[in-house]
């Protein structure tokens, strides 16, 4: 409940009566029980599974139950290559999810075609050609920490919802500076990309080629034991 603020100004009842906004309550519950859609399309899904497994344990952050049906989910983690054959299915799954719904684009393929950007005749060059994306996570594949960081961004977006305003994102999502370097959040309104490293934004748009060329921590594979900057990974 730490994100809820007690708005009770009366010193006499301050510790007895808890006043808050309905928005805050609903958003706090929503953001702390994110139900992602079980949805793995290619190699990035392995990293998503690792995020759900014991070592990284996405449950710790209130996003445990991967749902088998879009009707029970509010987060779609698009993890893997979206092909033209798969595209109508992805769109349909998104349409079947109830509002409010959020989309994470995980990995180079989903951002702009990744390794298939030039010669991949069968690959959709970015899932944002199909569905609106809230958070982009570059990498090929992104490490589980990066996916967790993306989840935190989505949780922050969830806490901005207003229940009386049924249209999403009434307030512009601010451009976050990711704690985890290289994580990108696109401002949904005007499509500005922002991130921690200047050049990576270009790569994420595919100008620099496929996701496999990105140099940086999110490109690292699992299992090295030591994270970027020499921090030991959580065991």
């Amino acid at each position: 409940m730490s994100e809820l603020e007690n708005r009770n100004p009366d010193p006499l009842t301050k510790n007895v009566v808890f006043l808050t906004a309905v928005d805050d309550i609903i958003n706090a519950t929503r953001a702390n029980s994110v139900w992602p859609l079980t949805f793995g399309l290619a190699c990035c899904a392995i990293e998503m599974m690792a995020t759900g497994a014991a070592k990284y344990d996405i449950d710790r952050f209130g996003s445990g139950p991967f749902r088998g049906t879009p009707r029970q989910s509010d987060l779609m983690i698009v993890a893997g290559t979206v092909t033209h054959k798969m595209a109508p299915r992805v769109k349909r799954l998104y349409d079947q999810m109830p509002e409010p719904k959020y989309v994470i684009a995980m990995g180079g393929c989903v951002i702009r075609g990744g390794p298939y950007v030039k010669h991949g005749y069968h690959v959709v060059k970015g899932v944002d050609l199909l569905v609106p994306v809230d958070v982009y996570i570059p990498g090929c594949p992104p490490r589980p920490e990066a996916l967790l960081e993306g989840l935190f961004k989505v949780q922050k977006l969830m806490k901005r919802e207003k229940i009386l305003d049924r249209t999403r994102r009434t307030t512009k999502p601010e451009v976050y500076h990711a704690v985890y370097p290289g994580l990108i959040l696109r401002n949904a309104e005007d499509g500005i990309w922002a991130n921690h490293w200047g050049s990576q934004g270009e790569a994420a748009r595919g100008v620099g080629g496929g996701g496999h060329r990105w140099r940086g921590p999110v490109c690292g594979r699992q299992g090295r034991g030591v994270g970027r900057r020499g921090r030991a990974l959580p065991r």
Binding site: H84, K85, V117, Y121, V124, K125, G206
Partner: protein, 134 residues
Amino acid sequence: MVVKAEAWAAVAGLCRDDSRLGFDLLSCITGVDYPEREDGAEIEVIYNLDSIANHHELTVKVKLPRDDPRIASVEEIWRTADWHERETYDLLGVVFEGHHNLVRILCAEDWVGHPLRKDYEPPDSFHGIKNVIY
């Protein structure tokens, strides 16, 4: 081993049924497009046969004319040929005569063209989804 296209159905049956050959496993069917061969443009279909009983293997190549590649299906001889032949049809346009369901397997059902042909040009868009970014 290179086999003539007309003879392939009989040769395939012999490969499986002769006890000295005994090729009971068809492990792969692939195709290669050769638009510039000396004796005309060709598509080669390659069959990888294995014998589990006799511990030997064989690679069979069949050369087909590129403008009308047709060959007998071996789906009735090795059931695994079903999807392999569909894949070769999808990516190279080789028609396997006698196949019970020769439709695309990897590309979308209404895809145009056969992507592994050397002169293939990918579409600029597919069902309204832009396919070219740069």
